[in-house]
Symmetry: C2
Subunit: 254 residues, 2 copies
Amino acid sequence: MIGIEGIPMIEEGDDLVSIILNAAHESEVELLEGDILCIAQKIISKSEGMLRDLASINPSREATKLAENTKKDPRMVQLILDESSEILRSKENVIIARHKLGIVGAHAGIDQSNIDHRDGEKALLLPKDPDLSAKKIRAELQRKSGVAEIGVVVTDSHNRPWRMGTIGVAIGSSGVKVLDDRVGGADIFDRKLNATLINNADAVANAATLVMGETIEQIPVVIVRGLNPEKMLTNDPGENGTLINRPLDQDMFR
Amino acid sequence: MIGIEGIPMIEEGDDLVSIILNAAHESEVELLEGDILCIAQKIISKSEGMLRDLASINPSREATKLAENTKKDPRMVQLILDESSEILRSKENVIIARHKLGIVGAHAGIDQSNIDHRDGEKALLLPKDPDLSAKKIRAELQRKSGVAEIGVVVTDSHNRPWRMGTIGVAIGSSGVKVLDDRVGGADIFDRKLNATLINNADAVANAATLVMGETIEQIPVVIVRGLNPEKMLTNDPGENGTLINRPLDQDMFR
């Protein structure tokens, strides 16, 4: 795992791929065949202009009520409602929502940390389509670096219902075999495996957070190198982050 | 991440630490200061004699009923009930339980894969006290290898309610700073962080699964090397896997 240092604060419209490749080059890191680039959702969202000015938000009655119950800023709650298809649970300071993208997590992935609030309080939404972001970034990385066999994972950090502490997860990807399906395979005693589906993309994202950090480290891009490319990489455009969202009819915790 | 190859099938009573150090030595891998050893729960459970013979289980009425509803083997269901303090959800082929250790997951962590069933069907329970197992293994590793600053993580693979595919998690540990608490710290714009608690132990466990595999790979031990020891390691005996279990009064999805 190689953290790319020297990436500046990202602004709307920034050319992320050039910035990443320049920063890597400055650190004498070159992209190699088989690499998986993990990129923090935050810098993608910023470059895509997903920052919202809270002063411009007019909370609805529904948002105001949920804000009262959760003691959150009604404008933040309005953004969460706008970004979500379903609120699963809420309590003081916590709203668990299903994002319109299908991703379940706290506050529909909306975040206020590591954002410049000096000219008014702001909030950062998830990228509009993280799989599409990953796809574009991957194509651009391939074009600019000349390296063909790479994967891109858009990372975020999630809480989980029964375990303390956030972990890194993949909310979008391109070029990565997201789920390793062993169902129907056999174990070492040749017994049929009933239910072994391994989430490679989340594992890569989570590994990357060990280097990325989440607060003041300012390492929003990590190269994960040395994994088996046959196991991890693919050119199948259908392999992307949406495969990770558990279908509603399998959700036991709505 | 360095997978230790050549570890044989583990039997009850086996000296795990000697086996691991021998296998590492055969592969010309030596333990270094700062290493974190991830060890699959399965080989610890086997060495501790946690294999149960299903023929010896007499399912209760409760187990029989839950087995009917879930179409599972009543003897397996009896084991799950015996190991659990609470059944959270169940449906065909799935029982989500809170293990008596506090860990929430499918089937109370009981597993039937990669087990020798030739003289009767068996099931493998979690280690009795995974933190204690980790503590003993760490002390023994320190003693036998002469390396002082190491961590041990007992890994398992978990499903999650809203995401497909299993990820590696830590169900026990010793010597590792399990949760990195940034709450009350500041971000790069000096804004106070409200809720940033990072689960380092799960990240290490999940990273290790990229090398470990979960079915036929037979790499039950992975060394994670090169992480910042000040951030990741500790001698505090209070730092262990139980810190990961979310307290019942914070559980929004019972």
